[in-house]
């Protein structure tokens, strides 16, 4: 069984079908680049995979269970558009909070470990609202990876990141792949995504236009996929 399986998924917002019979699977240790133009349904699909929304029709399983299953949620790490951190809490308090919520055995140690890993240990007691954008982003990356998820879902992860945070995220993603974890990454930044991806899926107006392995020609010419499978 694959860690991520999507079969015949439809999602309607009112009468509008944001996803139309989407189906694919991602193997363990694979990185799927979920591509598509604005409004193609990438975020909707990632929200369904992350258990933040329910499909109107179809089935989604993550790690062999429904994505709202408690054990499944523990196995998923999400980095969405927002940093998902509390401005009124310190860096340590934020990571400690999520370490407790995820039921880590030593939440304080885990929080400190990730503060060190992201270079934020010196500002551990500083409130997030006082942080620079780059520091907030690194802390957000730490929050998403804190519980060492076996499936990582990233929605436009490189868009708002500074250089240091991009380097950190790329290192963490390569480590995760090397450790056999599964990654689904939605992005417009084709170069970064395709360098990392082992597979690609292209969504066009909610439909899966192409799904398969990432080929060398996609990497050499990042527009290739859109020209062959996308809309004119």
């Amino acid at each position: 069984m694959n860690p991520v399986e999507v079969a015949g998924v439809w999602k309607f917002y009112g009468d509008y079908p944001a996803l139309r019979e989407v189906g694919f699977a991602v193997e363990a240790g694979a990185c799927l680049a979920l591509l598509g133009r604005n409004g193609a349904g990438k975020t909707t699909l990632l929200r369904i995979l992350g258990g933040l929304a329910r499909p109107t029709r179809g089935n989604v399983t993550v790690c062999g269970a429904e994505s709202r299953d408690r054990a499944t949620r523990r196995a998923i790490g999400i980095l969405g558009h927002g940093i998902s951190l509390y401005d009124e809490l310190s860096a340590f308090e934020n990571l400690h909070l999520f370490a407790r919520i995820y039921g880590l055995e030593a939440p304080k140690r885990a929080a400190m470990e990730w503060l060190e890993r992201t270079g934020l240990e010196r500002v551990r007691d500083g409130l997030v609202r006082e942080f620079s954008r780059g520091m907030r982003q690194r802390l957000a990356v730490a929050r998403a990876f804190l519980h060492e998820p076996s499936v990582v879902l990233l929605d436009e992860p490189f868009t708002a990141l500074d250089d240091r945070a991009i380097a950190l995220l790329q290192t963490l993603l390569r480590d995760a792949l090397a450790a056999g974890r599964t990654i689904v990454i939605s992005t417009h930044q084709l170069r970064e995504a395709l360098e990392l991806a082992t597979h690609v899926a292209l969504l066009v107006r909610g439909r899966l236009a192409h799904s398969g392995e990432r080929t060398a020609e996609m990497l050499e010419d990042t527009g290739w996929l859109y020209r062959h499978y996308g809309e004119a």
Partner: protein, 235 residues
């Protein structure tokens, strides 16, 4: 970190307390809702005291109603912030995606709201006693029981609708419009109990059915909220 260690979940109560302490800590750092709620409650108490003659017996006879109007209006300011606080930086998504159950998340938020609301009420009560010439301490513990039960009812209904209206642009308006009609039985019971208790009457006889109504209201709406909150959070 070993996977088995990750699988060891926090207990339901532990998860709720984690959320409650996070909410209280965040509110105490900014005091946004708390300051607004206390100020609003004190202003209403002051304005009502101008409208009603404190020496009149009639004033004391409606004192319970006045007090609960103040609690309900001031409470809406705290309840509105409950889930709205989670919108900043998309924190609600991180909570909903986490392994915490919707019921534990709701209960944690309700407990935090209860603590904040009770703090506002404890500030208001002495002011209420002075402005309306009411010896509210004569039946102190029974009155505290009623305040706690009434506030829990308000908190449960308010927290649930705070979750429901969190994505609405007019949520500050919608929350009171939805909460107050549903609160009528709970508020009615709380008012009927508070007035005699504030006048020194013991909690017995005719007051017991109102106490039962208040307890039943709390139990029913707590059970409903815990059962429905998951549906409200994941659409």
């Amino acid at each position: 970190m070993a996977v088995p260690a990750l699988r060891r979940s926090l207990s339901f109560a532990g998860q709720s307390l984690t959320i409650a302490s996070k909410d209280v800590r965040a509110e105490l750092r900014t005091k946004e809702a708390l300051n607004a709620s206390v100020a609003f409650a004190l202003v209403i108490l002051l304005l009502f005291s101008f409208a009603f003659e404190p020496t009149e017996v009639e004033t004391r006879q409606i004192s319970g109603g006045l007090l609960w109007l103040v609690f309900a209006f001031a409470g809406a300011l705290i309840l509105n912030r409950s889930f709205a606080r989670e919108l900043t930086n998309d924190c609600l998504d991180a909570l909903v995606a986490s392994p915490i159950s919707g019921a534990a998340l709701f209960l944690g938020k309700a407990v935090a709201n209860l603590a904040l609301l009770v703090a506002v009420e404890l500030i208001c009560l002495p002011v209420f006693g002075v402005f309306y010439n009411v010896g509210w301490t004569r039946q102190f513990w029974p009155l505290m029981l009623v305040v706690l039960l009434g506030t829990w009812g308000l908190t449960v209904v308010g927290t649930m609708f705070s979750a429901l209206t969190v994505n609405l642009r007019l949520r500050e308006l919608m929350l009171p419009m939805l909460v107050y009609p549903i609160m009528i039985p709970g508020l009615l019971a709380a008012v009927q109990l508070t007035t005699p208790l504030a006048m020194g009457q013991p909690l017995e006889g005719d007051l017991i059915p109102w106490l039962r109504l208040l307890v039943a209201f709390d139990v029913i709406f707590t059970a409903l909220a815990l059962a429905l909150v998951e549906t409200v959070l994941v659409r």
